[in-house]
Symmetry: C2
DNA sequence: CTTGCTTTGAGGTACGTACCTCAAATACAC
DNA sequence: GTGTATTTGAGGTACGTACCTCAAAGCAAG
């Protein structure tokens, strides 16, 4: 049986009240007594029963996820994982709210964040494109005592907050290696399609991608990034243009999340099976393409892990602890048709 | 605030005692009353506070992991993950013991399992090669009321227990696709090296591998499996022999966990960089080979996930619940140098 | 030695749930 | 309607911790 506060009191030769004062850093205890108690804690290996403490304290962790309002299937998957986490974690005194933030409008997003307060919130995970307004509002929120993580995308080089998401540079490098190997020594060009290169994630992915390509696959020439701006017509136009002007495109890297516009345009423009195509995130859309052989690989991050990691990180910060870095690293998953977890085909 | 049992009692128009009887399935409640309470549960969205319940119940989940006594680095990683889980889960009233089982000796393993009882154990995760003796002892244990999962390797087609581990057939298929693509259309032979093909895991991996290779990569000929029996000298002998008799080996699939003997022998026999080599499990050994370019990819399963999944599954069974299948699927990870999680090289 | 202050102890209540006992209420068979 | 069995209610204690109050003990200065 684990030692309780009572055992601790006995071991330290003090009363329960004093133990309580020391544990909760209440005043009115001589340094010498504090030391005696901390010594006893170490000696008998006392660990506070967090459940009981939360129960007594009537503590609830009030967390929120701020996600872009409009979204692709990846965002929907995140929302679903959040809902699942809400269920699972409800019994651990963790309350999770989801809120939509406003994309493409940093001011309104900042306003929304500014409207939050420590009064009704202990921690937030924010998924928003980097912008000074959002950053300022977020910093103020953090200073007001709310735990903050930047989630999936955003200012990940920012030392002010924890970041929960994949290392995008490594993700880009992974795509590079995969594309290079799958291309099998051919000589040719690689098309890169993003939604917008103003997004930090895309920049970092491209960085990691280029690094590998120039170093390891000099036979492949990487073209400048095309930007769809999330519009199907534009995607069609620029991709059509690219294929008309380059006759030896052997691979495509779709940088943008899910990359629906880009992939749709490519399918209409050319035969996807005659080149190597890699895209990000596991959704119904990308899965279908992978299974039918139109996509060669998907680079993904598990939404379930993302959400759970964000929750653990926030909880640790709220409790004044340091998150366990090793556990919170989000894996860069490489998905082929065979390791999607689908039932076997005969 | 979340509704409590008291709120539930009020909402259902019954007393706390009756609510308690319904919640804990104690006898002596009319079906009609049960229904009224369950209706109220749904209506007000009552969720039992698991922490408080565990506290009141003084419940501890006593779990144990039975791993092979002698082991490679993968087993060590499992042990480390178990130790980590022990720390993390201690506050959830989960006690975890690790025990060494005896490999290559089914009788002693079975004896050890037979020595366990529901008296001092609520659940066990067993990692042991399939054998009738072990299976019988395990079945008896399960009938004695101990929750059992077969862990990582073993009798995974066994409906009698839950299985926590990867789908080995899919893992083999994944290796197949990767090897095939990395080989880039070359014509040649693929060497397959196992520790022993009596292990169920290896058989299934080979099955999945062959299926893909014959269907998708007819240019590659897969050779019969070599068996090292875990002995370095034998590995050296059979692998040397293989390379002397086949002049166009373009790829190697090391089926066995970590595959230290096989890989060491290959490194001594031939230039690993001139062929595609894929092995299983992420350990210090395989990581070094991957980073130096001697290995092309590692197919891995996360020891942390394995352990946590086993714990969740056992806990669910002990609580009389069904494990959530979707959450417990262990991912087949594809690791390249770039997504290992190492710090960036400049 | 007294005064005033700090430190400590003893004891209480509370959190939400489990589990127990005993009495009261109700239902049902005859 | 009576007797009996079943169902329900009221109230208690417990789990480990937090937080409160009040009194007792300790200590230092005068």
């Amino acid at each position: 049986m684990r030692p309780t506060t009572k055992d601790l009191a006995k071991a330290a030769g003090v009363s329960l009240a004093t133990v309580d004062r020391v544990l909760n850093e209440r005043p009115g205890v001589r340094p010498k007594t504090v030391e005696a108690v901390t010594e006893a804690i170490a000696r008998i290996g006392f660990v506070r029963n967090q459940s009981a403490a939360n129960l007594a304290r009537q503590k609830v962790y009030r967390l929120a996820f701020l996600l872009p309002e409009n979204g692709d299937q990846f965002r929907d998957a995140l929302t679903a994982s959040i809902a699942e986490a809400r269920q699972t974690l409800a019994s651990d005194a963790i309350q999770i709210a989801t809120q939509a933030a406003l994309p493409n409008d940093p001011h309104r997003t900042a306003d929304l964040i500014a409207g939050l307060s420590a009064e009704d919130l202990d921690g937030v995970a924010i998924m928003a494109p980097a912008s000074p307004q959002v950053r300022d509002a977020t910093l103020r929120l953090a200073q007001a005592g709310v735990a903050v993580v930047s989630f999936v995308s955003g200012q990940q080089n920012d030392v002010a907050f924890d970041f929960v998401g994949i290392d995008n540079r490594a993700a880009g490098a992974t795509v590079g290696r995969l594309l290079g190997r799958f291309a099998g020594g051919q000589t040719g060009k690689i098309l890169v399609v993003a939604e917008t290169m103003t997004a930090l994630d895309s920049v970092e992915r491209r960085l990691g991608f280029d690094q590998i390509m120039t170093r390891e696959f000099p036979n492949l020439t990487v073209l400048p990034s095309l930007e769809t701006h999330g519009r199907e017509d534009r995607a069609q136009k620029i991709i059509g243009h690219a294929y008309r002007h380059h006759n030896n495109i052997v691979g495509v890297y779709v940088i943008a999340t899910e990359g629906r516009q880009a992939l749709s345009a490519i399918l209409k423009t050319t035969d996807p099976k005659r080149q190597v195509i890699v895209a990000h995130e596991h959704t119904g859309f990308t899965e279908r393409l992978l299974v039918t052989g139109c996509l060669d690989a998907i680079i993904a991050q598990s939404t379930g892990h993302l959400v759970r990691s964000a929750v653990r990180t926030l909880k640790a910060r709220i409790d004044g602890q340091e998150p366990i870095a090793s556990q919170e690293r989000i894996r860069i998953e490489i998905l082929l048709r065979e390791n999607l977890g689908l039932p076997h085909q005969s």
